[in-house]
């Protein structure tokens, strides 16, 4: 039988730098210290850094490829059919000069050109997009990290693979989402039972939070909000959430002590016991309502 995660919580935000990784790593730490089995999937493939907060052992890595075309010029008739089929402008052709080239940076590896070619002139090769790295903190705690190669355009295939690898478990799963509300955010949110949005009480935070909420409503996903750096800025975020009847699950004040602990790569819940209890309570709040055991 397939294993089903106990609950999958995505930690997300529209705006970058509001504290997604801060919340993810603290929840992760709190859960495994309490004896839960938990996997943290770092989906911020462009800038993955959840593992920096822990001592870990490398378990394995998986290369993620897409299939890029290779054109055999000796078989090519320069008919231009592949160029016509390519919806990403990644085949460059000058028929009169017998020139044809694949622009690898634009290719999405969809395979349309191969289907288009009637002369068997197109084969495919593996083109590396990045890696899924698997690390172990202890027997109960694992980090699965999506890591995009520098210079690759889209993180989505690497994120999808990390989600697939990391989800083969009956652990609690935490997803550290990429910023923004476009494709990478959607891919991460789609697989989650619950989305925890992390925001900050500033006009930028509010504007991006609204956009993230609009997206989650389209996806019909349940969500709640954590306010980070509370005390800076103004009360507009809280007023908005109150008006929209959206629950604030945790309020983390701006505090030089907290900022300093985070900046050194340390875990707040480890350094300050009070926060261990708060993160523990945060998880219970979500799990009691949305965990698979509660259904």
């Amino acid at each position: 039988m397939n294993k089903i995660p106990q609950i999958k919580i995505a930690i997300a935000s529209g705006k970058g730098g509001t504290g997604k990784t801060f919340v993810s790593t603290n929840l992760f730490y709190t859960l495994y210290k309490k004896g839960n089995k938990v996997t943290l999937i770092d989906c911020d493939a462009e800038e993955p850094n959840a593992k920096l907060f822990f001592e870990y052992n490398f378990v394995k890595d998986i290369n993620v490829f897409q299939k890029n075309p290779v054109i055999d010029v000796s078989k090519c008739t320069f008919c231009g059919k592949c160029h016509e089929y390519c919806n990403y402008n990644s085949i460059f052709i000058l028929p009169n000069m017998n020139v044809i080239k694949v622009i690898e940076d634009l290719c999405h590896g969809c395979g349309a050109c191969k289907v288009a070619c009637k002369f068997d002139a197109i084969t495919e090769k593996d083109f590396s997009l990045g890696k899924v790295n698997h690390y172990k903190i202890n027997d109960n705690a694992h980090i699965v990290e999506a890591c995009l190669n520098v210079g690759i355009s889209s993180p989505v295939p690497v994120i999808k693979r990390a989600l697939k690898e990391g989800s083969k478990t009956d652990n609690i799963i935490l997803l550290d989402s990429p910023p923004g509300t476009s494709c990478p955010f959607i891919q991460t949110s789609l697989g989650a039972d619950y989305i925890l949005l992390v925001t900050e009480p500033t006009p930028f935070g509010l504007s991006d939070l609204k956009q993230a909420i609009a997206t989650l409503k389209i996806l019909h996903k349940p969500f709640g909000v954590v306010i980070n750096r509370s005390g800076i800025g103004n009360s507009d975020v809280k007023d908005y959430l109150e008006k929209e009847n959206i629950q604030i699950l945790l309020d983390i004040p701006f505090d030089r002590d907290i900022a300093s602990i985070y900046s050194k790569g340390n875990i707040l819940a480890k350094e300050r016991l009070k926060w261990f209890d708060k993160f523990s309570y945060l998880f219970d709040l979500i799990n009691n309502s949305y965990g698979n055991s509660s259904n």
Binding site: G14, K15, G17, A112, V115, V150, N234
Partner: protein
Amino acid sequence: MEIAVISGKGGTGKSSLTAAFASIIEKVVLVDADVDAANLYLIFNPLHEEEMVYIGGEKANIEYNICANCGACISYCRFDAIKVLNNKVTILEDFCDGCKLCMRVCPMDAIFMVENNKSRFYVGQFKYGKMVYGRLAPGEENSGKMVTLVRDKAHQVAKQTNIKDILIDGPPGIGCPLIASISGVDKVVIITEPTMSGLHDLKRCIEVVNKFNINPLVIINKFDLNEELTETVKNYCKEVGIIVSGVIPFDNIIVDAMIDCKSVIEYAPESEITKIIKQIFANIYDKQD
């Protein structure tokens, strides 16, 4: 001069500092290239002059009156976007990459493409010149194509209005939108912060920028939140031959300015932080490569 301000990691203060720089230049075409979370308009509240539709790719749709439910398309799709749900061949919109292959292989011609046309981009007037910015519709692909369009528009506007400086507020990360923001610019400024994550992201960011043969300049924001790490960041930059243009202390006044819909330069013209930012910008602007 065209200057791109980027950060790798989000939340380092990139937009606030870009706004400050715009106030210092005073005559500028300001580009918000963070189309996924555009924020600069909140500070400068531009007056819209032009609105344009951005077509961000296409998605496949099935005409069920024609579809024979044969499933021939399924094995061709490399994005796992076609599944049989309730005995019906179904396209999962969120997974569709818009490659059109299913449309081309369908023996019944039952698949058609629909353009993603909900995103917009704008040109507006603000007190220091013109602003060009995009607004990606929720869930649409941020391919960098929109960033390129927004930048092209900015070049056009700069030419028409005889404004010689273009300032770009870049997107976070190191993927396509970031690459589209920095290719061909005169200067790249990276805003970082003294945290472990900040340093890690800075390294990846520098790697990307170096691919374009641009030597970036680095600003360490909120440096006093961890002075030891600030030293580490400085040493790292020195090692790889990158100039640190300056360091800025943490100051609540930057957030207060944002709430007042002003750049910190306008909000607190006499403050220490304004002096520091002005000095740093002078270093960047005058620095010839």
